[in-house]
């Protein structure tokens, strides 16, 4: 008899589990080696506590009342629970604190899209180490993790979370119009972006062109120069910051995989400063991401800079399999 399980969840059988376990051990090994201690937190938290971390609660898809009437929620990532953990358990600890995890998180899915409601993430959080060195350290750990997973061709996109918010402020675009434009940028809808910006009062054609051109700049170090040529204080600030991060990465010898990407925009509400995304040519989807969230801990009562990343384990596993078959026969 067939007993169904909810769409977006799945069972793992021994053949797959053996491979996943190897991958888990390899990644946690890399993290531990670099001083990141593994932690676990409950999958269920108070909704109020999770909402403190990320005001836009759209990601928190599963909420329920317990027997005593408290509103609980399933976590949608590990960054917010770890921020809660740091504030509660490490408030007086010597900084920086280095933690890592391998945990399931839960998000809403759209029907018939093969999206996972429950998925595993492996990642690290570095608390108390400011940019650019703190950022460079997590990129170094990410590089090592990708090596350990055998994803030699994987690329790390590096961008700046504040760039467009500041650029649009410079253009005098605020409020709802700004959020709508940021949405277009995040979706990379260039046609809509151009139309919508042009229709706004007080935004010149040059400014529209700057915004569109900026969102398309990605590549090596030369991209920073190309961006600077477009001018403006927001661009100057972002490129200076990216330049510093890149220098710190070069000093550690870990800039090879990094692609500067001024079009990068992650939609999680708590990012500030550097943001990361991971791609592999074997897969059409993003493998993971992260960045800085220097303001997040403050929402939990301790003012410390922080950065981290998370990899989607199922996707890393798919990419790993594709890379192996490419090595074997090749196309």
């Amino acid at each position: 008899m067939i007993h169904p399980i909810p769409p977006g969840t799945r069972d793992v059988l021994p053949d797959e589990m053996r491979e996943l376990r190897r991958l888990h051990l390899a990644l946690i090994g890399v993290f531990e080696e670099r001083g990141y201690g593994e932690v676990a937190t409950p999958a269920i938290e108070y909704d109020e506590v999770l909402a403190r971390g990320d005001g836009r609660t759209a990601d928190t898809a599963y909420r329920f009342f317990d027997g005593s009437g408290d509103l609980l929620a399933l976590r949608s990532d590990m960054t917010v629970p770890i921020a809660r953990l740091i504030a509660t358990r490490y408030a007086k600890a010597e900084m920086p604190v280095r933690l890592c995890y391998l945990a399931n998180a839960y998000r809403a899915v759209r029907p018939q899209r093969g999206q996972m409601r429950e998925f595993a993430q492996a990642g690290v959080e570095l608390i108390g180490a400011p940019a650019p060195e703190g950022t460079a350290e997590i990129v170094e750990v990410l590089e090592a993790a990708l090596d350990a997973a055998g994803l030699e061709r994987a690329v790390i996109g590096l961008g700046d979370a504040d760039l467009y918010r500041q650029l649009l402020a410079e253009f005098g675009v605020e409020g709802g119009a700004r959020d709508s434009i940021l949405g277009r940028l995040a979706a990379h809808d260039l046609v809509g972006l151009e139309t919508e910006l042009s229709e706004l009062q007080g935004v010149s054609d040059d400014q529209v062109a700057t915004c569109v051109a900026l969102s398309q700049l990605r590549g090596g170090k030369e991209v920073l120069e190309e961006a600077r040529a477009l001018g403006g204080a927001a661009v100057e600030r972002a490129t200076a910051r990216l330049g510093e991060t890149l220098e710190a990465l070069e000093a550690r010898g870990v800039s090879n995989r990094v692609q500067i990407d001024l079009g990068l925009l992650r939609d999680l509400g708590y990012y500030s400063g550097a943001i990361l995304e991971v791609y592999d040519p074997a897969l059409g989807h993003v493998l993971g991401g992260g960045g800085r969230y220097d303001g997040l801990l403050k929402r939990f009562g301790i003012d410390q800079p922080a950065a981290g990343f998370a990899l989607y384990m199922e996707r890393v596993h798919v990419a790993q399999m594709e890379e192996e078959s490419a090595d074997g026969g090749g196309t």
Partner: protein, 226 residues
């Protein structure tokens, strides 16, 4: 050919860029735009029944326009061309919309029978209109956005049939010349939006094959300007 198919489903950084080409109404103008961009389309124009046309730097993969977002989102095709109507109907597919190609211009409209007051009457007396369409999400969003209640009925074939034999009060459909509407005794009541063909890219290909994707977009833009 089997090697081509075996690699499908995943993006790969080597080999020619895969471009999803829409069959059907957009095909002719798409091939003209590709020719103007310096891409050889003679194979596709020929008699071949193949779906995949390998080339030096670009492999053309032909498919239904409504499948283009699916293939591009998954990275099975790196880039593609399809109508804005398709992109709007499948708005939850994550593809990067890089360029308005300007051709394939048509309008998404609300239409009813000529001289027939069913649309207004149903809304006034029943509080609800019945609308047949192949674009249920665009239709729902439009009526929601204009504060009206409708029952959207999805049909797959000739949508003009629906109001003629009483399945629906009106239709939401794409019109290019308006001739089909006219021949079926239907008329445009409201314009919803205008659609043209768009050049789209897979998110990862846009990052990892930046030069090729940007190069192709630039060539298409130049070709259109000519």
């Amino acid at each position: 050919m089997s090697a081509e198919v075996a690699g499908m489903g995943r993006a790969k950084a080597e080999g020619p860029l895969r471009l999803a080409v829409p069959r059907g109404a957009l095909l002719g103008e798409t091939l003209d735009a590709l020719d103007a961009a310096g891409i050889d389309t003679s194979e596709v124009r020929g008699e071949s029944r193949s779906l995949i046309f390998p080339g030096q730097s670009i492999t053309l993969v032909t498919m239904r326009p409504s499948d283009v977002p699916t293939y591009v989102e998954a990275g099975a095709a790196d880039v593609g061309i399809t109508g804005k109507d398709v992109l709007l109907e499948q708005a939850d597919r994550v593809v990067y919309e890089l360029l308005d190609l300007g051709f394939g211009r048509c309008r998404m409209v609300l239409a009813g029978r000529v001289g027939d007051e069913r649309l207004g009457e149903s809304e006034r007396r029943l509080g609800m209109m019945r609308i047949a369409t192949k674009y249920p999400r665009i239709a729902e969003r439009y009526f929601e956005g204009t504060g009206r209640q409708v029952e959207v009925i999805e049909v797959k074939g000739s949508v003009e049939l629906a109001p003629l034999i009483g399945l629906a009060d009106g239709i939401v459909d794409l019109v290019a010349t308006g001739r089909t509407l006219e021949e079926n005794d239907l008329e445009v009541r409201e314009e919803i939006l205008e659609c043209t063909a768009r050049f789209v890219a897979n998110r990862v290909a846009h990052k990892l094959r930046a030069r090729e994707v940007d190069g192709l977009a630039a060539k298409l833009r130049q070709g259109l300007a000519r």
